[in-house]
Amino acid sequence: MADLIICRCEEITEAEVLEAIHQGARNLTEVKRRTRAGMGLCQGKTCQGLVARLLARELGSNLASIAPPSARPPTRPLLLAAFVEEQPA
């Protein structure tokens, strides 16, 4: 299932995620930096758990030990215009 899509937004396959882990990625952020998995429109809401499971399996570690990436705003895509309307008085 090497061509199984893991990150739908950026169209990243399982093979690409595995390659990144085998090249040294040890956490979700490193997989993201190397493959873009989790950098798309949903910001990893769909693929984060899948990537975490691949990391745990390949590194031989407990799923619970795979730390979530640092959370930053926005929680969901937000129109840029929303920030423009809120002009200071």
């Binding site: 950026e10 040294g24 990625a25 040890r26 956490n27 952020t29 490193e30 930096r33 190397r34 873009r36 950098m39 798309g40 429109l41 910001q43 640092s70 930053r72 705003p73 926005p74 895509p77 937000l78 129109l79 840029l80 215009a81 920030f83 423009v84 809120e86 002009q87």
Partner: protein, 390 residues
């Protein structure tokens, strides 16, 4: 116990350290690179995309940047990895009469120093960059300005270094730099010790911490830039668009008021190959604080929407803060340590690391192997700060 041995241990897995490791390894040196995290985990992983020429101060820095740009132009083939280097030019846009005056003076100054530069009036600027708002007054245009993906550049250097035999040890945190008879003999890390012929401090914002291990001071502090990224969109921009207010805010101390109000910040924007609009940045001195905040982000968002109204229709998907290693005069420190003869320093590139990494790696490797003398890098020696301290 026999320690692993390296001619040179490079500390720091960002674009500077990996570039130096690559140049040393291809010269046949036995190189080990160590980083306490993964590759591109610090500044290189949270940088903007600009490889800019027209923002460089004429003199040593601009010359260095132009030499580096010449290397960027062939580096993709050399490293064997596409790091999304694109030479599409860049603009500095003026929105107010003082900004217009500033940009015109900048164009004239850079032209006098040999950089290809143009001043475009409103009509010309909007023909070149149709997304610009009709209220702008004019723009500088620098055809040499370029963009690159900093993470891919860092990985490209590291992979090429590995092919030439460099050993890359990630998650190896430096605990001690052991000194005997005035020279560093071993680099002690959380993942083991390496006997070192020479050591390079390419620690970026953490370079001062490494320097302190051997009793040295490096005048480098983190400068935060907050950045936001939108969803991918079809191409609507050409190259880089900077607001003149961003460059003018450089002259202001953190916290002072700029023309547009609030904290020092301004638009530096480009579209990635994927189509994401990436915009920075604030310029804040807040220590080792990577967080983003509403004040900083909303300011550059409003500025972006004003400069390129079409951007208001895009969704913001991600924000992040990056810390840039800033020296007092905005120039990197590149030298053999005056105090410890087998210690080299290559840090303090602030926001110029992506642009300057190819030439920094080349010159530092040449300095270490003795191909060039220290005089070549004299403008970047830390002794330039000494007159201030006395």
């Amino acid at each position: 116990m026999n320690l692993p041995v390296a001619d040179v241990v490079v500390i720091g897995g960002g674009v500077i350290g990996t570039s130096i490791a690559y140049q040393l390894a291809r010269r046949g040196m036995n190189v080990a690179l160590v980083d306490r995290q993964g590759l591109a985990a610090g500044t290189s992983g949270s940088a903007a995309v600009g490889v800019q020429m027209q923002t460089k101060t004429p003199g040593a820095k601009l010359s260095f940047a132009l030499e580096s740009l010449a290397m960027h132009r062939t580096l993709t083939d050399e490293l064997g990895r596409d790091y999304e280097f694109d030479n599409d030019g860049g603009m500095i846009v003026a929105e107010t009469p003082p900004e217009e005056e500033y940009v015109k003076a900048k164009v004239a100054d850079l032209q006098a120093h040999g950089l290809e530069m143009y001043y475009l009036d409103r009509k010309q600027a909007r023909e070149l960059q149709p997304a610009l708002s009709p209220h702008i007054l004019g723009s500088a245009w620098c055809p040499d300005d370029s963009v690159a993906n900093p993470i891919y550049l860092c990985l490209a250097f590291a992979e090429a270094a590995s092919r030439f035999g460099a050993r890359i040890h990630t998650y190896a945190e430096v605990k001690e730099l052991r000194i005997r008879a005035g020279r560093i003999t071993e680099v002690v890390t959380s993942a083991g010790e390496i006997a070192a012929g020479a050591v390079v401090n390419a620690g970026g914002i953490w370079a001062p911490e490494l320097a302190r291990m051997v009793g040295l001071d490096l005048p480098i502090v983190p400068r935060r830039g907050q950045i936001f990224v939108t969803e991918p969109a079809p191409p609507f921009m050409r190259g880089l668009v900077l607001a003149a207010s961003y460059l003018m805010s450089k002259k202001m101390p953190s916290g002072s008021e700029t023309g547009t109000g609030g904290l020092p910040a301004g638009v530096v924007s480009a579209q990635s190959r994927r189509g994401n609009l990436l915009v920075g940045s604030t310029r804040e001195f807040v220590g080792y604080n990577w967080r983003v905040n509403y004040e900083g982000l909303s300011k550059i968002m409003r500025d972006t929407a004003r400069l390129m109204p079409v951007s208001q229709h895009l969704h913001v998907i991600r924000t992040f803060g990056g810390l840039r290693p800033a020296a007092p005069d905005g120039m990197p420190i590149l030298e053999r340590s005056p105090a410890i003869p087998n210690l080299y320093i290559a840090a303090g590139h602030e926001g110029d690391g992506i642009a300057l990494s190819p030439i920094t790696g080349l010159r530092m490797a040449q300095l270490i192997t003795g191909e060039i003398g220290e005089d070549v890098l004299a403008p970047f020696a830390s002794s330039r700060f000494e007159s201030d301290v006395s």
